[in-house]
């Protein structure tokens, strides 16, 4: 978190702090119109994106770019919560309002539930959160416990990480691990060692925010390796292409982790287009931008692909509400280029 009043860098993402200097973006002007044909007909699954921080424009653009389903991990909302009710309302919104909002754009919304590492440091509050968490992890569409793990790597963080690993084990849910920004390599190793110590099968654990330095060990130990494509400060998608070229598609997945910072909800379709341009096979692209995420989080038993693999125009969740007149209603698309607002 920003402790320096002279700090001038832009909003940090939820998984980074603002210490890192912002790299100037390399010149890459490939417009959507130029690459959208490359990924025509592809379906994408974003296994890490914080839609509560995003607008309806994003939902529409995502749907248009082929994103059919997503996972919204419970996270730190940018400033510390001061009471249990804030946590409860946030968790409820992940399975309630946000899920509904997403359905209006034809995107199937799943989530992971957990106490994030930053707020694990507020121990008296963390204690209360742990009491209500079991009420949420059994909810329909909850595909894992996450995002949990280390931030500052404090004893309190470790304590609640371990408690939540046990919770995941009991509920038979996958675990989505947030790896720390500072001291990343050690933090990642430590997160994995603790998961193994708790007897958790690494094929049930998705280690997130990897980079070139961490990926080998994660894959060697049998974990899933997720990569976050996040502009300026994190993985760029050109580097991602190289990782896939080197390691192949097995147990690798791409996400956007888009949140309130300068991030890109279209990170996955853009990365897919770039992979296509660089000659990576369609099957490999499908695995890292869609199927692997479904296989990993599908272990929860909560993902039914027929919910989003049917007719792309129709929100399949509606069929569970019977009468088609009673739909929640798809949002109409406004004419964005028009000066006149109707």
């Amino acid at each position: 978190m920003c402790l320096n009043p002279n700090e001038t860098s832009p909003n940090p993402s939820h998984f980074e702090d603002s210490e890192e200097t912002m790299a100037a973006p390399a010149h890459r002007d490939i417009a959507w119109n130029d690459y959208k044909d490359l990924i025509k007909g592809m379906r994408f699954f974003d296994p890490h994106i914080h839609m509560v921080s995003r607008t309806t424009d994003d939902y529409q653009a995502m749907r248009q770019a082929g994103i059919v389903a997503l996972i919204e991990p419970a996270f730190w909302v940018g400033q510390p919560r001061t009471g249990l009710s804030s946590f409860k309302d946030y968790y409820s919104s992940l399975v309630g309002w946000e899920r509904f909002r997403s359905s209006q754009f034809g995107i199937k919304h799943y989530c992971t539930m957990g106490l994030n590492s930053r707020e694990a440091n507020n121990e008296s509050l963390a204690e209360q959160v742990m009491e209500v968490l079991p009420l949420y992890i059994y909810k329909e569409g909850v595909v894992g416990v996450g995002e949990i793990g280390f931030d500052d790597q404090t004893p309190a963080e470790e304590k609640y990480y371990r408690l939540q690993l046990e919770l995941a084990k009991e509920a038979k849910l996958p675990v989505q691990i947030h790896t720390p920004h500072r001291d990343k390599k050690k933090g990642t190793e430590r997160s994995m060692a603790i998961a193994l110590e708790h007897g958790i099968d690494p094929s049930w654990v998705i280690v997130d925010h990897n980079n070139e330095e961490t990926v080998k060990s994660v894959l060697d130990q049998g974990f899933w390796a997720a990569f976050t494509i996040y502009p300026f400060t994190k993985m760029g998608n050109e580097r991602m292409v190289k990782v896939v070229e080197q390691y192949g598609p097995e147990r690798i997945m791409v996400n956007s982790a888009a949140d309130w910072g300068i991030s890109d909800p279209l990170a996955i379709p853009k990365t897919a287009a770039l992979m296509k341009m660089r000659g990576i096979s369609d099957e490999t692209i499908r695995l890292v931008t869609y199927q692997n995420a479904i296989d990993a989080f599908g272990k929860s038993g909560q993902i039914d692909v027929t919910d989003f693999e049917g007719d792309l125009k129709i929100d399949q969740t509606e069929k569970f509400h019977g009468n088609s007149i009673l739909r929640g209603g798809q949002q109409p698309e406004p004419a964005r280029d028009s000066l006149v607002i109707q």
Partner: protein
Amino acid sequence: MSDIIKQKLWSVLTYNTSPAEADWLRQKGSSNPLELMTAFVAVPRFVPKKIITNSPELKWELNAEFPGFSVENWSLVRLSRVWLLTQLDPSDKSEYIKNIETLFDTAEMNELVALYSALPLLSYPDQWLFRATDAVRSNMGYVFDSIALHNPYPEKHFSELAWNQMVLKTIFNDKPVHLIEGLENRSNEKLALTLSDFAHERWAAGRSVPPQVWRLTGKYLNPALLADMQHLFESENEEDRKAAALACNESTLTSAHYLLAKYTDLEKSVKSGELTWAELEH
């Protein structure tokens, strides 16, 4: 709530579940409150997500036992959840209320739908009034529908203010008003007059009002509403003209009937019973 309803719901359930699924439900239905509540949440992990089918006899029996209550087009998950709620022991009032409130407080969208669908069956019906009006305030379409449409709770328990709010919001959101239980019984003058204001706003914006909503005004026509009828008779939309004819026919004002008499074809079809509101229900 009558035991007969519980039994009928159980019959519909067994009609749609495998023996193993029914066993799971039966066992959870007779367990302690905490286990039952956890089962309420976990239902989709144990019963398939599908729309139920119902035999015509069961459909008829259910409606005879509880007019207005219907499980038509429900998912099996929703029905299972509602049945589980009927198994919660109401003998300790404060404990019972606390348990239901906890379910509401932590509910996801489909659970909310089940909870609101179950309101007519819960004990201490007045306790749930605030919750019920909260569902009307909801912007989640499915949640709103679960209280407003095909649900007999509002007709029985809503104040006039809450009722009117619900009907107006149904109209505002372009949902079919004829699916509201008790629409005729609870019609009132205030609602009819507000509807006129609402229509004027829509017309000013170059938008229209679903013709069937004028069914709420017939009994309460006054000079202002009569002017609206005139406006409808002059509409290019045939259904607007039909709605005006039907509404005027239901009025006790002689001036309404004079107005109707100007449109002989419409007058004939409405007086003969050939034209009814049912034709405008969509």
